[in-house]
């Protein structure tokens, strides 16, 4: 990918829509689907992912001249792990409740393919500032889709949004929305909607 458009606006559009990490590339869904049953958890989790992606892309870009190519995967993983540890410690200190809810999934940000993917595909060959921007926008594209899924799951599964009661008491919560399969179904539908919209635009996939 040598002809990547590196203008900030183009990167924004690319990462949020035409090359969205989730529905175009189906990356990084591992650690994310499990937390989408509540909006608050999803928001915290995706903010964490966005920050880690941004900073690790920047660091990889800064260090790209010094990294021997052979060990670069390992070095990148360690850089990512470093930022994830920071996120983990901050969460434990300031939001212990949410940290407990997210459980192992904070640590799993390390193996989130989006971060490694951006480091490999973009940060390796671009400057630190623009790499940071690329990482953050990828994180935002990821956040958008997950927040959408979490919105549906929390609204129908608990009748609440961010913990506030939205639907009337008489609403019977859909148990299916609380259990894992619904995340797969909703993600399937989101991918469907996204791809169909893309096809209609006639954009080359």
């Amino acid at each position: 990918m040598s002809d990547v458009d590196t203008r900030p606006g183009a990167i924004l559009k690319n990462n949020l829509w035409t090359n969205n990490p989730i529905f175009m590339q189906v990356l990084g869904i591992c650690s994310a689907l499990a937390v989408t049953n509540l909006l608050t958890n999803t928001a915290i989790m995706t903010i964490g992912v966005t920050l880690v992606t941004g900073f690790s892309s920047m660091t990889v870009s800064l260090l790209k001249g010094f990294m021997p190519r052979k060990v670069r995967m390992m070095v990148q993983t360690l850089i990512i792990a470093f930022y994830v540890i920071i996120v983990d410690i901050v969460l434990k200190a300031y939001l212990p409740e949410i940290s407990r809810n997210l459980g192992p999934y904070v640590g799993l940000i390390i193996t989130n393919c989006i971060i490694m993917g951006r480091a490999e595909a973009f940060a390796q060959s671009n400057g630190p500032v623009i790499s940071f921007w690329d990482g953050v926008t990828s994180g935002l594209g990821y956040m958008g889709v997950l927040m959408l899924i979490a919105f549906v799951r929390e609204l129908l599964g608990f009748g609440t949004l961010f913990g506030f009661q939205i639907l009337p008491e008489s609403f019977i919560p859909w148990t299916i929305m609380v259990v894992p399969p619904s995340a797969f179904f909703l993600l399937g539908f989101v991918i469907w909607a996204g791809k169909s919209a893309m096809n209609r635009q006639g954009a080359p996939a």
Binding site: V26, I29, L78, P180, F184, S196
Partner: protein
């Protein structure tokens, strides 16, 4: 303290009701891309079983050491390094011992280092305070569960490929929905057996 769950119950729970993939969403990335092809699915599944069992055991020991030294916050980095090292070692051992096995398994081993399921199981093991025996059983069972899930999915995808699916839903979309149905079937057993 270790939870009081018999290793036997834990073994079945980790294969079926708490399937690492279908209930905890771990190891999705390679799951979706590899399940296109049944032979590769088999190879990767087998590799996951071996690596999960070994790394969970090793990481259990490492975690005890970290706890004794008060360095638990370093666990993410240490776990990742252990996993990478174990994978590398397994690759060398398999290369020595059996060339056929290496041809079948070898190419999948590097992929496994970044498989979320491997790190995920180690992190679950830490959070749930499993004993050594429980950790090994949990790792082995989760690996078998992953293998079962990927084999089932790749078999289903073979049929789905021939079905008339709306254009936008082809590929990843329909695969997600298929996984959703599989997850429902697996989780249907959870009344019988639960694992925290």
């Amino acid at each position: 303290m270790s939870p009081a769950i018999s290793p036997f119950a834990l073994f079945f729970a980790s294969i079926f009701t708490s399937n690492i993939l279908l209930a905890n969403f771990l190891g999705m990335c390679s799951f979706v891309s590899i399940s296109k092809d049944m032979t590769s699915s088999n190879g990767l599944g087998l590799a996951v079983v071996v690596v999960l069992t070994v790394t969970t055991g090793v990481n259990w020991a490492v975690l005890q050491l970290l706890q004794a030294l008060g360095l638990v916050y370093l666990r993410f980095i240490v776990f990742i390094i252990v996993i990478a090292a174990v994978v590398q070692m397994l690759e060398m051992i398999i290369d020595r011992v059996s060339q056929t096995l290496y041809m079948n398994l070898g190419i999948f081993l590097p992929l496994i280092t970044v498989n979320c399921a491997i790190l995920g199981v180690s992190l679950f093991m830490e959070i749930r305070d499993y004993s050594f025996i429980q950790s090994i059983v949990f790792g082995f069972g989760s690996g078998l569960g992953w293998w079962l899930a990927i084999m089932a999915l790749s078999a289903i995808r073979k049929k789905v490929d021939k079905a008339p699916v709306p254009a936008g839903l082809k590929g990843a979309g329909i695969t997600m929905i298929t996984i959703g149905f599989m997850a429902m079937a697996f989780i249907g057993f959870s009344g019988m057996l639960q694992v925290q």
